[in-house]
Symmetry: C2
Amino acid sequence: MNAFELYNPTKLVFGAGKVNRLGELVKPYGSRVLLVYGGGSIKRSGLYDDVMFQLSEIRATVHELPGIEPNPRLTTVNKGIDICRKEKIEFILAVGGGSVIDAAKAVAAGALYDGDMWDFTIRRATVQAALPLGTVLTLAATGSEMNGNSVISNWEAKEKRAFGSKLVYPKFSILDPKLTYTVPRDQTVNGIVDIMSHVFEQYFTLTTDIPLQERFAESILQTVIENGEKALEDGSDFDARANLMLAGTYALNGTLPNGVSTDWATHGIEHEVSAIYDIAHGAGLAILFPNWMKYVYKERVGKFAQFAVRVWGIDPSGKSEDELALEGIAATRAYFTRIGAPATLGEVGVKGDQIDRMAQEATRFGPIGSFKQLDIEDVKAILQSSL
Amino acid sequence: MNAFELYNPTKLVFGAGKVNRLGELVKPYGSRVLLVYGGGSIKRSGLYDDVMFQLSEIRATVHELPGIEPNPRLTTVNKGIDICRKEKIEFILAVGGGSVIDAAKAVAAGALYDGDMWDFTIRRATVQAALPLGTVLTLAATGSEMNGNSVISNWEAKEKRAFGSKLVYPKFSILDPKLTYTVPRDQTVNGIVDIMSHVFEQYFTLTTDIPLQERFAESILQTVIENGEKALEDGSDFDARANLMLAGTYALNGTLPNGVSTDWATHGIEHEVSAIYDIAHGAGLAILFPNWMKYVYKERVGKFAQFAVRVWGIDPSGKSEDELALEGIAATRAYFTRIGAPATLGEVGVKGDQIDRMAQEATRFGPIGSFKQLDIEDVKAILQSSL
């Protein structure tokens, strides 16, 4: 096990109807609130009205930043930063999924930075201060509700980049599984793939002697695999939605990477694909991850064999580690296909003509990943195998 | 899954040699420090000197509260409270195991309370403010390094009681597995039993549809079972000590009880035994837990069967749930015996003549536990079967 630090001050408030705690949770931070949300589903569902009622109870002055895109854009973030400055916003409330929360974090950090918030993503500046933010989660997927990460797209430059800071951890996140009952099927699918992918990035590691971290990762994967299918069968299955939501949070709240060298190459490649094509992050990951697995598994076949046995329940008798590893990878692809995720870039309209550019961008700071370090040729090969 | 809140702001700094971060971690809180420790093993090991060097580097004024007992006593806590008031202490640093940390929490809360800190344990007052504290952990056991709980003994009244507050979470805890290399064998054993017992209290529940919490619990148990034996074979096995330490922290840092009705009856009974006899908490738990299991398992045989199969790897083929449950309980007892923990109260000098008193005290506020609610007669029966 490597040395590590763990610090996660986000307060989770989990359960049906917990939006009724919102006023009390916002109040300590001030009364000038920026409400950040997406395409309007929260208005159709009635959640917007519930949130506004809660904020009116504490006599908050509410400004709004609606229309956050599925891949949230720098231009939209900058609009939010302008509002924060003009209106002296004291607290940012994100109501939505990971994109909305990521945008809120970028606004929170950008509002107190004397420059272009994009600087944080290109390491030209680090976050020194941020407005406090909180979230009401409506989608089990990115884990953004309990971490300090944010991914923003610069659509003009066709770039999608991440920044992270302890200062943008949400002060609180309200997780009501019932709010995810109305999530459309494809978004539930993308969420399932996203959660599993977060675990993969931290599970497939060359670090050894980390039995607890491995088992925690396997626990999340098994829980998502079972409950993902249940939630797709019946969108209003409370326990399935609750288990998926909790698993999504734990997949990226700092529990898995303790003392572990994590990978994140596949996320890096996917960011280049969706920077150009604006496809759903979960769809991109479903296409790429099994191909990454096939490309790298020989670096540590035993770990992939363990994955096959412990996560997919594959019977190891009479099989070589290599056979088991390949069966585990095949089971991953089969599961993604069974729940309706795409398997090829062609299915989502991505052709081969941009592969060189995507591979170049993905490796612009050098090789990516740690399970196997991937250079530009490796990334091209993985993209090629995904067409 | 039930509704729940999760909030844990303790910063973990984990790794070999991390005591060198101590000065920097203490500094933001002030320079007047109360150093709390136990029987002097930290002086023999050189840790005391390392800590004092770190504190001298930030020019701290250090007062000391040495001699914290294995079951920390109210009289000693009160000494610490007096020092805090007289010397205007700004930060409390606990260097030791769970007893030392629990005592430091009691001092931290008591120093800012205008009354007897025992009031917190008998629910006559709740903690409204506390001095900040940090820890350097020297024993994998209680999990006190990353929670807001404390257990204090009132030796004159023969009472051992707990209090909890969000205000006494350590600001930071330094976890260096190497500091546990010199832990005596019996204390390592007690730590293993203590960690497993914490998991049992949260795993054996009537709450259903909590697959993630169950698997996390099973993950911790399996990790402790394997690495406990390794640490006993070779006290300087870094990975075994590291895995045990991390498991101990996760067993009681709020990861397992999310949305779960927890039990804690066995801890309640053990507190009454060690309040009178001053035996090690881990020893008491090793004696009582398998007997509690036998007494209650029929309330939910399936959960105990799952425990047998998933945690102890018992082959379920051709066995009834009842048989599996009993095999899992027997495996628990066998493991405790194999690592050298006691199996009967007689072995630790406890006779039957105080059973009525202990059962009465354990149930003084009514029945205890949630897996099966135990009244005074139930507690007597469990104690009787443990003689």
